[in-house]
């Protein structure tokens, strides 16, 4: 039987409050504004988890920037069995050649997806390519990646909210919380 999602009770602990996130996003925005002053900045976000972070971050950057969106298939998704390879579900809508690209991620854990995206975007000859992530979970890292802008380093727990999902749910939470294990282990 399908379990009913309950936003109020499925979260075991609030890891990052809405205020903490807002403060950090503003800080990142100030740093990025200073670092990219006078340059041609394009923010590239990866659907769907990065949407809230991207929306907040871009409004904290005081530069005439461009934005673009990408979506890649995830292992275990609907397209996995047929292709066996990661697939670009939505590519960039404009060229990033000679642009200073900042890849905006919601979370980096294994680094597998990001490692793929970095190689893909480098093939499009940007002037520069840097990484900005709201959350970093280094304990789970498989592929070492240089993170240029990091919001929070978080413990090795399964987190949802502020764009992060479990089974496509919980993205709309205004905070980042730890999902109760019984939610994903099938118990009640």
């Amino acid at each position: 039987m399908t379990r009913t999602v309950d936003l109020s009770t499925d979260i075991g602990e609030v890891l990052l409050t809405e205020a903490q996130i807002a403060e950090k996003v503003a800080e990142l925005g100030r740093r990025i504004s200073a670092d990219y002053a006078g340059r041609r900045l394009t923010l590239v976000s990866v659907l769907k988890g990065s949407l809230p972070f991207m929306a907040d971050l871009m409004r904290q950057i005081s530069l005439p920037l461009r934005i673009d969106l990408m979506e890649v298939s995830s292992y275990g998704g609907a397209t996995t069995e047929s292709s066996g390879l990661v697939r670009i579900m939505k590519d960039l809508s404009a060229s990033i050649s000679d642009e200073d690209v900042l890849l905006v991620e919601d979370i980096i854990d294994t680094g597998l997806t990001l490692n793929y995206l970095i190689r893909y975007l480098r093939g499009k000859n940007p002037a520069s390519l840097r990484i900005c992530t709201l959350l970093d979970k280094p304990a789970r890292r498989l592929v070492d990646i240089q993170v240029d802008y990091r919001g929070f380093e978080i413990p090795d727990q399964f987190v949802v909210g502020y764009g992060l999902d479990y089974g496509e749910r919980y993205r709309n939470l205004r905070f980042v919380g730890v999902l109760r294990p019984e939610v994903y282990s099938g118990g009640d």
């Binding site: 995830s74 292992y75 275990g76 998704g77 996995t80 066996g84 390879l85 990661v86 854990d109 294994t110 597998l112 997806t113 490692n115 793929y116 190689r119 893909y120 093939g123 789970r140 498989l142 592929v143 070492d144 090795d156 399964f158 089974g167 994903y184 099938g186």
Partner: protein, 211 residues
């Protein structure tokens, strides 16, 4: 972007979890080789290798080894000890150990919850310990007379090498050869995994699986 040509014959993985990790690496186009290198980590007094460690995967683009541990806790401790020994002897070797919890969370991240119980935990691949006889001192001292070669019974588990710490041997000093510091094979790494030709990815989905 460069794509890696799929290997013609996928390796025979020792456990289904290894095949699943190979599929994940294939999916994200991370090249891998399965158990290409073996690192000696223990020697007898004669300098012969009696214990070695063969990490499950080598990722050539990252110059990193990955060891997947989905065994029960007692066997994890043994593997931890071997990993510590490996790091002591080969400090330049980068290796990442994936515990059962790590792998469970990885599957959870990818929505492969149905596979979690199947691929991880003690029911996945643990095998009851069996006792095997192994020679500990292969060469007797010349003046040992009629002393018998020293043999020891030690615990062995399929896919996991025995822990020398579990040895219980009463040694007669008269039969011991002179102590030598020679350690043949130390810091020697097999070349199999270093060749790009021997490293490929792309078809783990059809790999035969045992365990």
């Amino acid at each position: 972007m460069d794509h890696v040509e799929p290997r013609e014959r996928p390796p025979a993985f020792a456990h289904a979890s290894e095949a699943e990790l190979a599929r994940i690496l294939d999916f994200y186009e991370v090249r891998w080789a399965y158990e290409p290198d073996s690192f000696p980590i223990g020697w007898n007094l004669d300098g012969d290798v009696i214990e070695s460690f063969s990490p499950d995967f080598y990722l050539p683009d990252l110059d990193m080894y990955v060891e997947l541990t989905t065994l029960k806790q007692t066997l994890v401790r043994r593997k931890n000890r071997k990993l510590r020994r490996l790091r002591e002897l080969y400090p330049d070797v980068r290796i990442k150990l994936f515990y059962a919890r790590d792998f469970r969370m990885l599957l959870l991240k990818f929505g492969r919850l149905a596979l979690v119980d199947e691929l991880t935990g003690s029911t996945g691949q643990s095998t009851p310990p069996r006792l095997v006889a192994v020679p500990v001192i292969a060469e007797l001292a010349p003046d040992a007379g009629g002393a018998s070669p020293v043999l020891a019974l030690r615990e062995a588990v399929d896919g996991v090498e025995p822990d020398p710490a579990s040895l219980t041997v009463e040694l007669d000093p008269r039969v011991l050869p002179p102590v030598r510091a020679r350690r043949r094979g130390r810091r020697r790494r097999h070349a199999a995994g270093r060749s790009v030709d021997s490293v490929a990815s792309g078809s783990a989905a059809d790999a035969p699986v045992s365990g």
